[in-house]
Symmetry: C2
């Protein structure tokens, strides 16, 4: 890898219940020197154990609206109860410094990122089967049957747009899934897009062998 290259932006998305949160946390914890996880802004209240600037930037509704107005979000989503968004500036600073950045966001947000930064890698995480997805959602034991049904209806909608992602990763075992994503990002670093410095070095080294026009 060329240390001077621009960082790679990877978006991890997936169905509710696909395990994208677990996989992202494990990726970051296993390869903490490789990746920087973007911290989202949200208008919801901090829960027990959540720290401002670590888990989220907790902001007021007013401040969130102001951030939208000033184009401070790379992507954002407004829901009835609260909103979430990815601050653009910190992502761009880390990429410019050559750090690989991870965003864990919803499907619509992933498409907003791709539009703003076409070089971003979009990964969609899926369970091995829908039966397994149902098992995982029910296994949480924290939601009503109606809430689970709403999540599955949302998955049905999202399943229509999976092909707009670059990669589809089946989360069968968290461990394998994390390694697949890590290899995928390492591989992306070998794209000629990220190897410009190396190409220039080689072209310069071959200068003496250029035939005169």
């Amino acid at each position: 890898m060329n240390s001077r290259r621009r960082g790679i932006l990877t978006v991890i998305s997936g169905f509710s219940g696909s395990g994208k949160g677990t996989v992202t946390r494990e990726l970051i914890s296993r390869y903490k020197d490789n990746y920087w996880l973007s911290v989202s802004a949200t208008t919801r209240q901090a829960r027990e154990g959540e720290a401002h600037g670590v888990h989220y930037f907790f902001v007021s509704d007013e401040r969130f609206k102001e951030m939208i107005a000033q184009d401070e979000f790379l992507e954002y989503a407004e829901f009835v109860s609260h909103s979430y968004g990815t601050p653009r500036k910190s992502v761009e600073e880390h990429l410019a410094a050559g750090q690989d950045v991870i965003l864990e966001i919803e499907q619509q947000g992933a498409f907003q990122v791709k539009k703003a930064m076409p070089e971003a890698i979009l990964i969609f995480l899926v369970p091995p089967s829908i039966e397994e997805l149902e098992r995982r959602l029910r296994g949480r034991g924290t939601e009503t049957e109606a809430q689970i049904r709403a999540r599955l209806e949302q998955a049905a909608v999202e399943s229509e747009y999976m092909e707009l992602f670059d990669y589809l990763i089946v989360n069968d075992q968290v461990d394998h899934c994390v390694e697949d994503i890590h290899h995928l990002i390492r591989t992306e670093g070998s794209r000629t897009y990220y190897m410009k410095e190396k190409m220039i070095d080689l072209q310069e080294g071959l200068q003496a062998y250029r035939k005169e026009a």
Copy 2:
């Protein structure tokens, strides 16, 4: 990996002296169940130990011209002394059967393949530095200084087109380089382009959760 998917076509190219032949042979020998190496047609004479249909298909000038006329080549190149070409049919048959195919060919041929099959992965192998490239070319001990210079002049020309490849792989150690290419092709298998069957399975599984329009 979905065993029913179409095979992945990977083109390995690189400067003369980049080690593409060694890397390709090692990749095929290490992962013989994963890859099928395309056999080229050539008009040159078979050398000691070369078998028809194994190392090359040895054909007459007349037959080669006929193959061009009948569009039987995926790519080909005609030189003063002899010609080389990749028969299209066997490549397409292996891909259709879900086998991953490797072509080891020159730069111009790589671009012909990309034009015919845009989903092909183009890999360009380079040495760590031009000093190392010179060392490797001289180290062979089989060529005159004029022949070595001609190869470096050819590399200078090819270096202008490296960015048209998908990936640039630095061949520092054959072992690492082979693993990089193997991971790269495995990663490619997770592209949504190759995951259509899985996406259809998931969409069908979610059918029951579709809201009526």
